[in-house]
Amino acid sequence: MPALVSHPDEVKVISRRFGMGAADIEKYIELDGYKAVQQAIANGPAWIIDTMKASGLRGRGGAGFPTGMKWSFVPKVSEKPKYVLVNGDESEPGTCKDHVIFLHDPHAVIEGTMIAGLAIGSKLGFIYLRGEYRYLLKIVEKAVADAYAKGFLGKNIFGTGVDFDIITQTGAGAYEVGEESALMESLEGKRGVPRIKPPFPAVVGLYGGPTVINNAETIANAPHILLMGGEAYAKLGTERNGGTRLFGISGHVERPGVYELPMGYSLRKAIYEVAGGIKDGKKLKAVVPGGASCPVLTADEIDVGLDFDQMGKAGTMLGSGGIVVLDETVSIVEFALRTIAFYQHESCGWCIPCREGTDWIKKTLTRVYNGGGSRKDVDNVQYLAENMMGRTFCPLGDAAAMPTLGFVKKFRKEFEEYIDGNRAGTPLITVEQLVGAGH
């Protein structure tokens, strides 16, 4: 079982109950569980949405869309049933925060789902976990069953006359299914290929009904926000970036782990203080700050606050909060190749630029890595990535192109030297391994 870590700079909101046995419903109730949802029933949808808006909470799935606003987009009246969909597909490399939530505080996700349902007038919520999280599904399933047993779910919840049901399920291995509309397709029993937008899920979503879809962390924040008040939550973070967030710090640090830090917290401090600095006293080379799809930051670009706006200004993204730290020994050529190999494997294949683009970048970098590259290949990779950007059907294409562009632009010299024979770093992968990665 993954180890819990902690650091004095942490501000514990969502992680408040971690390690306290809150997967047990009695314990959860003891720790203020299911209070927020009862308040929500008492105060009604407008109050919920106002509180969420005031909290400044922005989606923790990656794009950082303001949650209160998203909920307010759902039409009040709809012919078709409305749904709440919790995105627990967590598959962005470098990200394992929802993992910890499901493990330590599944009821918070359930309660958050109910709150979202009340806010938009839905009676059915889905909690969708990635297929690999089967052991977490069992934890969530038990939590849901316990909530039903207590009368917190089902008909007439808490005796208030309100009905709400939750269905849990998993995927079966597909990164793209984390994209919201692809997730809906998967949940409808189809291939995980995204849908054409517009219409957006808030209007036409799951089964054609208006749907709110949120990341599991976003949803699990809702009960805390209702209990502490929107403004109080907002104050924990920075302007337009309310509250705290779970950051998973991995790679070459002394104390990797999932930490809850206030929005806007310094990236440098997160690496050097919270996570204990670079492993084995080595030097920092680069940071992929928000999951594999975010453009890389070099060692001297890390004096930036961890919120959506500051990261955007720094030319990268806050993404999913997965901070991957690379020390001086890492070969960027190899790292770039491993990154694109992932997107190549996970592209759904629907649109040409992504399907073919990821494939050709992977093939070219494989050859470069193999020692058969020419300087022209670096141009070609950049050309391919530039021509994918903004042209694909869904953002996966961008997610593959952005880091690639980051690597070849910021580390162009390293690529060229590698090609010319001066191979920086000690390659970790043999060519045979990488070519085999076409699994």
Binding site: P2, E132, A172, G173, A292, L428
Partner: protein, 169 residues
């Protein structure tokens, strides 16, 4: 009692499927979980499983195959009793994922997506499994094992060989 005559699944699983198709607004929603559960029981998704699932969901077999082939956890050929899935994605790679993979290849004597002759273990290199902060990590069937070293892997394999590991079900 299963709603499908001569179900190829165990009575428990058949009963579970009977229920599963009724809980969603649309029957078809049960497809992805059903495929996984079928695989858990049979070791892979067989042609017979495809046929029965198509019948249960009331869709074409082709449709089932379209979906089945999309998801990387689903397979149409048997794997070992214990399917070892080693992550080599970025966070794991930085902390020795490939070493672990190589170690597994050597100890088990098999490569990517191969099964050892005795059928106990099969090996697979997988993409990020959501254990980045505890890298390097792997899953054996559905169980996570993290912060791995080659020595830890040896101990684990021995445990599984001794029957102390968990089965898929």
């Amino acid at each position: 009692m299963s709603t499908v005559a001569n179900s190829i699944f165990s009575p428990e699983l058949a009963a579970r499927f009977d229920h599963l198709v009724t809980i969603y607004p649309l029957r078809r929603s049960a497809l992805v979980p059903m495929l996984l559960y079928a695989q858990d029981e049979l070791g892979y998704v067989s042609d017979a499983a495809v046929a029965e699932i198509a019948e249960r969901i009331e869709i074409l077999e082709l449709d089932v195959r379209n979906v089945l082939s999309y998801y990387s956890m689903l397979r149409t050929k048997p794997a070992g009793k214990y399917n070892v899935q080693v992550c080599t994605n970025i966070s794991c790679m930085l902390r020795g994922g490939y070493e672990i993979l190589d170690h597994c290849k050597k100890t088990l004597g098999v490569g990517h997506k191969e099964t050892a002759p005795d059928g106990v273990f099969s090996l697979e290199e997988v993409e990020c499994i959501g254990a980045c902060c505890w890298a390097p990590a792997m899953q054996i069937n559905y169980d996570f094992h993290d912060d791995l070293t080659p020595e830890k892997v040896d101990v684990l394999f021995q445990m599984y060989r001794d029957g102390q590991g968990k089965d898929v079900k």
